[in-house]
């Protein structure tokens, strides 16, 4: 569905050229749900804008949904759906009107458009809102309308740019279910996100981008298994004593943390040993590696810190 080679984009700014994307290769097979993960400014959106014909690459080439990005952008546009980062229905318009014009922009007849619109309104729980002004919709409703607009022409490939940004937890969860359903229907989905839980929950496969380069690739589990071991955090007044027993242990007041392989199973024996040398324990926690740990290992930066700042 997507085959990109050496895709790059340089922006000319007053402070000199900026290499936003430095040559990325992307392969997405039909039916895959691929997450494109990276901190703000990593090149996610720039890459997505190139793949969707919004931005011309300064180097590289790509075949998107069977059409050449450089020589046949119109063919690409006809065959992809795109849901951008921001709300894409006009505040001046009514829900049904925006949907109908969107359908007709793709050459769908009025009659077919009405049928398809009714189907999508129901699917995205927007039935009854047809005559409402877009401006009166809640954030979650607007987001679902955005996705409905992206699906009107029945694209086999859908691009989602930061789909759940600015949504409340419940709307987010609901949106995820819709995205999962798309995948079940056989739609290929390529989504960008800087939320780890979103990438983890939704994606079959992840591409991690940082500083304009792809720095890692694999299923969420594969990526996590690259981080060696689970994180164990013990609460004890003898934190520094415990720290001497484990490699790379970190002491933080009355807490000590370290990594051990297969933490769940290793823990009982470990606690017995500590008890025998007279260590008094207040609390025990075991954390499976998260994608944030993966990101930290791959890039030396925490994605969480980055996304909190943004």
């Amino acid at each position: 569905m997507i085959k990109a080679r050496g895709l790059a984009r340089r922006f000319t700014t007053k402070l000199g050229p900026v290499e936003a994307v430095r040559g990325v290769d992307i392969d997405v097979a039909e039916g895959e749900l691929v997450g494109f993960l990276g901190p703000n400014g990593a090149g996610k959106s720039t890459t997505l804008r190139m793949l969707t014909t919004l931005l011309e690459p300064t180097a590289g080439e790509a075949i998107i949904a069977g059409h050449d990005l450089l020589t046949d952008p119109a063919g690409v546009r006809r065959n992809i759906g795109y849901v951008g980062q921001k709300n894409s229905a006009s505040a001046d318009q009514r829900v049904a009107d925006e949907l109908e014009f969107q359908a007709r922009f793709y050459g769908i007849t009025k009659h077919d458009a009405r049928r398809k619109i009714a189907e999508l309104l129901e699917r995205f729980e927007l039935t009854g809102l047809e005559k409402r002004g877009v401006i009166t919709l809640s954030g979650g409703q607007q987001r679902r309308l955005d996705i409905a607009m992206g699906l009107l022409h029945g694209p086999r490939l859908l691009f989602l740019d930061e789909p759940s940004t600015a949504l409340d937890p419940q709307s987010r969860r609901n949106l995820w279910d819709h995205v999962k359903q798309l995948k079940a229907d056989g739609v290929t989905v390529f989504l960008t996100t800087h939320y780890l839980d979103e990438a983890d929950f939704l994606s079959d496969r992840l591409l991690v981008i940082d500083h304009g380069l792809i720095v890692g690739e694999g299923s969420p589990d594969e990526l996590k298994s690259r981080v060696s071991g689970d994180l164990v955090v013990l609460g004890t007044p003898q934190a520094s004593l415990v720290a001497t027993k484990f490699e790379n242990a970190v002491v933080d007041g009355e807490k000590v943390s370290f990594r051990i392989p297969d933490g769940d199973r290793a823990l009982p024996a470990l606690l017995r040993d500590l008890d025998q040398i007279g260590v008094e324990l207040h609390s025990v926690q075991v954390h499976r590696p998260t994608l944030d740990d993966v990101f930290l290992t791959m890039t030396g930066r925490s994605l969480r810190e980055e996304s909190n700042v943004a």
Binding site: L54, A74, K86, S88, D146
Partner: protein
């Protein structure tokens, strides 16, 4: 392409059709000029003043059109439309079409209102007069949308507009004849294409040559549409 333009036009026209009150509000300013300024020119002033007022409506009506694009750029509306197969030129032309249609409707209403004061025009003159004003609207509207797309911020757009429109209007002679002023001011008005359009519009309802006005408006349409289309076709806009 024609179908795309029609669709884009119909889409932006829809909110106006649903809520035509905006058209009436748009008439308030020219009506004020008609009622509170026109009488200052005396009974014989109407044939001279109303054509100029029509050009002024074209200038103000379509120069501000770009404002309607800014919220759509800021939200993802333009981006969504640019990923559909719709021609990017149609995204401009369809919008300009809406503004020109509104301008023609408003121009017609103003002429009818002016007739109550003593303005006289034949149907042919009205048609020709609206045609010339519509062409001017196409030129200015295209440029307005292109600039809006470039500057992206309301306050920047507003200052671009006020710093260009007011001198253009003052130097076009819509309010008072430029020949009343000193020579340098008159010659300054001669390099303003809008002044020639005003002269031509006046010739339509009185007597005189249309030549310079038609040449001016044709040049403005060519330059304006070329600039607009080029900006809308640019990828990053």
């Amino acid at each position: 392409m024609l179908r795309d333009t029609w669709l884009v036009f119909a889409r932006v026209m829809l909110p106006v059709v649903r809520n035509p009150v905006a058209v009436i509000f748009g008439l308030s300013q020219p009506l004020l000029y008609l009622g509170l300024f026109g009488p200052l020119l005396g009974d014989t002033g109407w044939q001279w003043f109303v054509p100029g007022l029509l050009v002024q409506m074209a200038l103000f009506g379509t120069a501000y059109a770009g404002f309607s694009l800014l919220p759509e750029v800021r939200a993802g509306v333009m981006e969504r439309l640019r990923v559909t197969p719709v021609s990017r030129v149609a995204l401009l032309v369809g919008r300009v079409g809406k503004d020109v249609v509104l301008l023609v409707v408003q121009g017609l209403l103003i002429m009818l209102a002016a007739m109550l004061f003593g303005f006289r025009a034949s149907p042919g003159q009205i048609l020709l007069g609206l045609g010339l004003v519509a062409l001017l609207g196409v030129a200015i509207g295209s440029v307005s949308y292109a600039i809006a797309l470039k500057v992206k911020l309301e306050y920047v757009f507003a200052s671009v507009l006020s710093s260009t429109i007011v001198p253009l209007m003052l130097l076009s002679g819509v309010l008072l004849p430029m020949s009343n002023g000193p020579k340098w001011l008159y010659w300054l008005s001669r390099v303003n294409p809008l002044a020639h359009v005003v002269d031509a519009e006046r010739s339509i309802f009185n007597t005189g040559s249309l030549l310079f006005g038609l040449v001016s408006v044709a040049a403005l349409v060519l330059v304006g549409v070329f600039y607009g289309v080029r900006t809308f076709n640019r990828e990053s806009a």
